[in-house]
Each structure stands twice: as C-alpha cells, then as structure tokens.
C-alpha cells in the first residue's frame, strides 16, 4: 500500500457517519410511473425527441444533448410516454421531464449486451471511446454532473498525464462509491483502463480516503492478481479529511500539483473522474449500455434501514425512503447528496437523477439552525479553507455588495465546500453570503469579458 497522502491546507473532519457502509447494493424495483428530467447535467437540458403516446424501450435515447456542455438522456424503462411536462426536481425549480408509464417487462434497445460477464478487451480507440461516453450520456456522478466527454477531450497543446479516479467519498454518510468499489471491483478497474486509453496515458491513480481500508486492500489485491491487465493503475490512500475529494485538493494530494486559479485541471495534466462515472463508462464502452441507473445511498441517523440501492433514474425519492424503513418522525431536512455540499429539498417526491448520490434525512437536532453571534475574528474559517481564502472577509464584503473587493480577494476560487461555515463558532452563514458574492462577481466578470 502506498503511504497516505493529503492536501496541505485547511480542511475539516466532520463526523463520518457511514451508516450504510456494510449494506450490499440492492436492486430497487421500478415504480409504475417514472419521471425522467431532461436536464440531468450541469449545462443545457437535453432536447426532447419523443412525443406523448410513443412507446420507448429501455436505454432508448429520449433527449439529445443541446450545445457543448450538455448530455444525452435515455429512457430508464420500457413503456409509453404519458406526457412531456415539467416536474419539480431537487433544485426546487420546475424543469422539463418525460413521464413514462412503465410496462412490466424490460425490453432493451438493440445492441446492449445484457450479460454480467467481465469484458476485458477494449475494442474501441480513443476517439470512439469519447464518442461512446458522449452518446451514453455519462456525466460526473459525484454530484456536479459535468458531462464526462467534455473532460476527456484534451484541448490542443495539452497532455493528460494522469487519470485520477475520485474515490475519496469525503462527504459524510455517503457510501455508494464505496459499495461499488467492493462489489464491481473488476468492472471499475476496467473503466479506469478505458479512461486511460481515452486520453492516451499509462498512469491511472485511484485516490481513496483511508477510512475505506476494505476497498483499498481489495483494489490492491485485484490489481496485483491481474498485473498485466491493470498495468499502470495505482491505489493512493488519502487522509480522512474533508474536502479530500474536491477536484483541486485531490490533484494536489495525489500529484503535488496546484491547479492555477481560474484554470481547469487539465493545466496540471490531470483528468479527474468519479467512481460511479468510471463504472458507467465501463458499461457504456464494453456493453454499449447508456447511463440509466446509479447507486443511491439512503441514510440518516434516524433512518431505520440505511441502505445502498441501485435505482433507475426517474424513480421518486419517497419510494427509496420507504425502502429504507420509511420516513422517520421529526425529519426537518431532506438532502439530495451529502451533508456538506448536498442541496436541501422541500419535498420528498423529487425524481432520482444522474447526480443523486444520496438521500439524507436529518432531524432538527442534527441540522438545526443555531443562533448566530458576532464574529470573534478567531480565524478558524481561514484556517479551514482549503483554497487559502479568508471566508470572514469574503462574507463581510459580499454582504456590503463590494464586488470589486470580492474579486481581488479571490472569491471566484471558492469551491463551496462549506468547511468555513462548518467550523465557525459564531454560526455565521459564511457560505450563503460567499455564494451570493460569487454569483454577483461572476456575472460582473462575464459581462466585462463580453465587451
């Protein structure tokens, strides 16, 4: 095992609460009607190409990517399109979606390999792999949902030296990536290999937090057992510290390189891909299977049966909560994702999508809004900031709408990890104001660049 590494600056250590770590992945039965949002990625929503009354097959393309940063959407089930309407998704906004009345029997589109057999021969070349990733609608499944094919298209003049797999899973509670690593080890490693081929590199590094020893050992063992097949793939244990899985922090921890302010990771020769996305790429490239399902962790301290479920997209979250033992009493916060960066949702019937890594239920005690007091200038927020920013200052100047100052104080470098707010003893909503300042400052910068 490689010695444990970490990013040097800031970070916090929230309670890990990986309650569902020992729960094997269960297939979740599909509901009668599924609601598939067309905007499942960062960027433009897909254009709908089906109409009411159409019969769609499982894996059939129903929405095509619109623009460069966008991803295709496929039907997660076989059935009839009931309507194309809007649905409130986890953001709280009404977004276009395809409502499908499901048939009992799954009927897949042609060309998808159904067997569970491990396919180790990569027949496609680099360009074909990227095209396949694009066709299959694969996005970053850690929560940001950035279209993966865009990441894999290395710009002219740049070279990808490393494929880094983000298996840190530094968010408390979430265990979906961990379970996938344990149960689909070989498929995942093949995914890494495919990614390495896609960007023409012979180095692949899997970064995992040291609280997932079981996965680290299993991966090490598997790689050693098939040394020829997984040549160039390395497992890098990382210190259990949040935000170890932040893209820039991960690159720094693994390679020692710093992504320059305002630039993309490729500047450092790294392409970072999430675990679930890597597995999806394996399925897409080797089995021609589009992205229509994922593992969702349903968890919370008062949840009866925290679990990891394999869920087709479009399944309403409340059914998953039922499967985890039902909605506990006194739940005040429903969170799509983890507690540090997830979004709180006002309803429980939002559809699961490509970015739904977890559904976290919290009671008032766990998530209460505590009384804010004066800043005592303790500097803990600045110490916790992994980007070397001064959150107390950004909070103050954003509140004053002083957007010249926010820009010179690097507000745009904030990765919104929430470490500052987590650690603040005065309970100041630092990140809320920083987010506001970031949005305003970003708009000003974009307007200036357009001139």
């Amino acid at each position: 095992m490689n010695p444990i590494k970490t990013f040097p600056k800031g970070g916090v250590h929230p309670e890990e609460n990986k309650l569902s770590a020992n729960q094997p992945i269960q297939d979740f039965p599909m509901s009668k009607q599924i609601i598939v949002p067309l905007g499942q990625c960062l960027g433009a929503p897909a254009d709908c190409i089906v109409n009411k009354g159409d019969r769609v097959l499982t894996g059939q393309l129903i929405g095509t990517a619109k623009g460069f940063v966008s991803a295709n959407v496929h039907s997660p089930a076989t059935g009839t399109v009931a309507k194309v309407d809007v649905v409130m998704d986890h953001t709280g906004y009404y977004k276009p979606a395809v409502f499908i009345d499901r048939e009992e029997q799954d009927e897949w589109v042609e060309g998808v390999i159904q067997t569970d057999e491990l396919l180790t021969e990569i027949k496609l070349d680099s360009k074909q792999i990227i095209d396949r990733v694009k066709d299959c609608g694969i996005v970053g499944m850690g929560g940001a949902t950035f279209p993966t094919h865009v990441k894999l298209m290395v710009p002219e003049g740049k070279k990808a030296e490393y494929i880094i797999i983000n298996a840190a899973e530094c968010e408390p509670y979430l265990t979906c990536d961990f379970r996938l690593l344990l149960e689909k080890t070989q498929e995942f490693l093949m995914g890494v290999k495919i990614l390495m081929k896609a960007v023409n590199t012979d180095k692949g590094i899997i970064g995992i937090e040291a609280n997932k020893m079981e996965a680290i050992e299993l991966l090490d063992k598997t790689i050693n057992a098939h040394r020829d097949l997984y040549k160039g793939i390395e497992v890098q244990p990382l210190k259990t510290k949040y935000p170890q899985g932040g893209e820039k922090q991960l690159i720094k921890a693994v390679t020692g390189r710093e992504v320059p302010s305002g630039k993309l990771p490729i500047e450092t020769g790294c392409v970072v891909v999430n675990v679930a996305s890597t597995y999806a790429i394996y399925e897409a490239v080797q089995k021609n299977k589009p992205l229509i399902e994922r593992i969702v962790t349903v968890t919370g301290k008062s949840v009866k049966k925290p679990c990891n479920l394999r869920v087709r997209f479009g399944t309403p979250a409340n059914l998953l909560i039922e499967a985890a033992g039902g909605l506990p009493e006194n739940i005040t916060d429903v969170i799509n994702g983890g507690p540090m960066m997830g979004k709180s949702v006002s309803v429980t019937d939002f559809p699961c999508m490509k970015g739904t890594s977890g559904i976290l239920l919290m009671t008032l005690d766990e998530a209460q809004d505590r009384r804010q007091t004066n800043c005592i200038r303790c500097g803990r927020c600045a110490k916790a900031c992994p980007m070397g920013l001064q959150p107390f200052l950004l909070h103050k100047i954003a509140k004053q709408n002083n957007f010249d100052e926010t820009e010179t104080n690097h507000i745009m470098d904030c990765i919104e990890c929430g470490s500052c707010e987590f650690t603040c003893p005065a309970n100041i909503p630092l990140l809320d104001y920083i987010r506001y300042g970031k949005a305003k400052t970003g708009a000003i910068i974009r307007a200036r660049n357009q001139k």
């Binding site: 302010s261 429980t348 990140l431």
Partner: protein
C-alpha cells in the same frame, strides 16, 4: 406541500461555539485563581467576584438600555474580561476602583465599539491601564503573598515591592534570586493573577490542547523577551537580570498566554501572530529596562493591538493556485 427546511449547505456544523471557547478560557484561569486565593485570601476572591459581576452588569445594562439589542451576557466574554481585569490588579485595591475599572473596560473598551468581536483593544487591559493612570498609588501598592493558613483568610496583607519594582528602584543587586522557586510558585508580591507561573502554565497547556489558543503568539513573545533580555544580561550581568527571571517576574506569562491570545484583538495568520508576539516582547523589555514603569506587558499588548489590522492586511494566507507575479 413545502414541508422541509430549505437552507444552503453545509447542513452539519461543528459543535464549537463562542460560549464554549470563552468558558474554556475561564476554566483555564481557575488554577491561577485558586493560588491567588491561597496567597491573598479573601481580598483576591472579593476583588474577582466584584470585578466579574461589575463587567457582566455593565454589559447587560448597555445591551438592555442603550443598544436595546440581544443580551449576550451568557457568552462568557464579559465574565472573562472581569476575571482578567481582577487578575491584573493588587489584591487590596479598593473595590470601588475595581468597579470603575470594570465599567471602563466593558463600556469604553468593548461596548463603545459595538460589542464582542468589534473592539480593537483588549478590554481588560483598557480597564487596567485606565486604573493605573487614574489611581497610580493604589494600583502600585502591592500586597505580599501570605499563605492563608499562616496569615488567615481575612487578614490585611503586608504591602511591599514586586520583584520588577525592586529591579527598577535598586537594580539587579537588590533582587534575591535564592527565592526563585517561591517566585515560580507565586509566593511573591504582584497582581494576584500573575504570581503563580505554574498555575498559569497549567491553564495555558489546557487551552493549547483544546486548540482554543495558538501557541505561536505566546511562544513568540517569550522567545523575544528571553533573547532580548538575555543579550543585555550577557553584556552586563551586574545591571541586568537573567532572562528566565524576566519570564517569571511580573505579568509576562499571564499577558502572553491569556491576553495576547485574545482572538478579537490579535492577528489571524501565523506570520502575523509571530510578528505581533515579537512586537509585544520588544516593547515589554524596552519598558522594563528603560521605561518609567517597572512592568510593560499591558502597554505592549495594547500598542500591538493597534497594529493588528495592519498586520492582518499585510499577512494574508496564500491562495491556492495563485502564483505571485515575478518581480521585475
């Protein structure tokens, strides 16, 4: 329909809060208080209670009737100011003077600037320096330590000079270093909170272990004082005393660990803290060796408090991924 709370991430928080921080500092000062009561009896206890109560009451009155804002009397910060203020005065100080000092500390030193977190100067030191200037005799008439088992709990203490006072008046020769152990234990004249080095260090270790204070500032202060006084001692041991006496005599330990570490009035970054500590150390030694007062820690910290905003501006953390443009 909208059943659940919508709030921005993060949805979990550390259990730390301002109140806990303040209470930990108060707890860390308990050993020093117990030693003070042991040596100075009822007078030390009485002054502490009066001063803490006066500070808390002043804050409460101002918040209730002048600001008409939220009452933060429970956050422990006013109590801490009161305790530190008491620790910095002679045990036999008339209590009305302590009340005046408390009112100045909280009223002028803290609330006039907007309350907790907004004051540029350490409130306890503002109060102390005000008293020192207003009541010079009372503030420099030091009772001698006398263990309560021998002298009795309510006995008026005999007054006498502090070690640094002796040094100022009679030079290095007037100090009897044979009693160094007594000095470390606190069996000496002086402000009643500062006398026992052991008790103060005990509290300091607790605060460092609980990560309430950063060791950088005190370390920087003590090192600066040690090196600076050491140089003069090496040059002329007949006039100047050894550096370790400088560390223990006077209020340096109390100031370094409990007042120069006040988050509100001192720099945030490591480099800033080191510079702050260096400044406090230099000014303290200059006042002790050549100034009119025998002791200068309070003044040194207050002067450096004034520089804190500038130091904070000068030493910002390094932003991730930002390379300083090369200077041409």
């Amino acid at each position: 329909m909208n059943k659940y709370t919508i709030s921005g991430s993060p949805h979990v928080h550390s259990t730390e809060n301002t109140q806990k921080i303040m209470y930990r500092v108060l707890l860390a000062l308990v050993p020093a208080l117990l030693v003070a009561i042991y040596y100075f009896g009822w007078y030390a206890l009485r002054l502490t209670l009066v001063s803490v109560a006066a500070c808390m009451l002043t804050e409460w009155l101002i918040q209730k009737f002048l600001i008409k804002g939220p009452l933060t009397i429970n956050d422990g910060s006013a109590a801490l100011t009161g305790l530190l203020l008491a620790f910095n005065v002679p045990a036999n100080l008339p209590i009305w003077m302590a009340i005046v000092g408390s009112i100045v500390a909280i009223g002028v030193g803290k609330m006039a600037f907007g309350g907790l977190g907004k004051n540029p100067f350490n409130p306890a030191l503002v109060g102390r320096v005000f008293m020192l200037v207003s009541f010079p005799t009372a503030m420099t008439t030091w009772p001698q330590a006398a263990p309560i088992f021998k002298a009795g709990f309510f006995t008026d203490a005999v007054t006498g000079p502090t070690p640094l006072g002796l040094l100022k008046e009679g030079g290095a020769a007037s100090l009897d270093h044979a009693q160094f152990i007594d000095m470390v234990l606190g069996n000496r004249g002086g402000a009643f909170g500062e006398v026992c080095a052991i008790a103060l260090l005990l509290g300091a270790i607790y605060l460092i272990a609980r990560k309430v204070i950063d060791i950088a500032t005190p370390l920087s202060i003590l090192l600066t004082v040690f090196v600076f006084t050491g140089i003069f001692w090496l040059i002329n041991p007949a006039t100047f005393i050894a550096p370790w006496y400088h560390i223990v005599y006077g209020g340096l330990l109390l100031g370094a660990f409990f007042m120069a570490t006040d988050m509100v009035t001192t720099p945030m970054t490591l480099q800033g803290k080191l510079l702050f500590g260096f400044g406090v150390g230099v000014i303290t030694v200059v006042i002790r060796l050549w100034g009119a007062y025998p002791e200068g820690v309070s003044f040194a910290i207050l002067i450096m408090n004034a520089f804190t905003p500038l130091i904070n501006k000068a030493f910002k953390p390094k932003v991730f991924g930002v390379v300083k443009p090369a200077k041409n």
